[in-house]
């Protein structure tokens, strides 16, 4: 086992464990906080995969933005005190069916991933990706990039509009 393997397993465990907490915890606040660790772990995985820019983006947007948003949402829709913090499940039957099907799904996915012989290219030398991303965003992907900008703008306006109290 080399260092890379160790780091990988470290992050993998963090991700799986914290994600399990997110999913299974009854207290919504716990879920929200453990989501932080999941995101953090994923960012670590990105670093491991030489995706420095994405990793930083992950930290900034997910942890700095989305998570904060979610926590705000939790705060605004849940009474902090008392049992209300706990969130119920949708019913035993659904819980069972959901669990079962999710397990089967996960199994299937793993099976598929393993049985597929992926095309593998020789790994490219690791350089900083920022420059390459920047260049392709403004050349090949200019239109999607602009569209995404507009999308964000619209999302912003839309969110403000929807959330507005009538």
């Amino acid at each position: 086992m080399n260092l890379v393997d160790i780091v990988f397993y470290f992050f993998a465990v963090i991700i799986v464990a914290s994600a399990a907490v997110v999913v299974l915890s009854k207290n919504i606040m716990y879920s929200a906080f453990s989501l932080l660790f999941t995101f953090f772990g994923v960012a670590g995985i990105y670093v491991l995969l030489n995706a420095d820019f994405i990793a930083v983006t992950q930290l900034m947007i997910y942890i700095g933005g989305i998570l904060v948003l979610i926590i705000f949402g939790v705060m605004l829709t849940t009474k902090i005190t008392g049992l209300e913090m706990k969130t119920g499940i949708t019913g035993k039957a659904q819980y069972a069916i959901g669990g079962l099907s999710t397990l089967v799904l996960g199994g299937t996915l793993i099976y598929v991933f393993n049985s597929t012989s992926w095309f593998k290219s020789p790994s490219v030398p690791t350089t900083s990706t920022v420059e390459a991303i920047g260049a392709s965003l403004l050349t090949n992907y200019l239109l999607p990039f602009e569209a995404a900008s507009v999308l964000l703008l619209l999302a912003m306006i839309g969110a403000a509009l929807i959330a507005r109290r009538k």
Binding site: N2, L69, I70, L105, V124, I133, L137, A155
Partner: protein, 102 residues
């Protein structure tokens, strides 16, 4: 066996399944949202993994960036909707919101 593509894929598969489970089983709309975030993250792991091992190179990164952008937009809108639901129903329980039935 050193860490290769499959490891990452399996990791993402687990994360995906957990996310889907959250979406299906939890009552609270915000929990559903969190599940979705997990699903998106798992997808991103795949993109980046393929970027490194599958020859997607920078295109994979770009895809991941767009996913993140989408996620951000989605989160904003979804939370706004949740707030709206909360204003109307005084709760955010997804299973009780079944207007779609009619």
């Amino acid at each position: 066996m050193s860490i290769g593509l499959n490891h990452y894929l399996i990791l993402s598969a687990i994360l995906f399944s957990l996310g889907i489970f959250a979406v299906i089983s939890r009552k609270n709309a915000i929990m559903v949202l969190m599940g979705l975030e997990l699903v998106l993250n798992s997808a991103n792991i795949n993109f980046i993994a393929f970027a490194k091992f599958g020859g997607m190179n920078i295109d994979g990164h770009i895809a991941a960036i767009f996913v993140i952008i989408l996620a951000a937009a989605e989160a904003a809108i979804a939370l706004a909707i949740v707030l709206n639901i909360y204003q109307n129903y005084k709760h955010v329980n997804v299973d009780e919101i079944d207007k779609l039935k009619e």
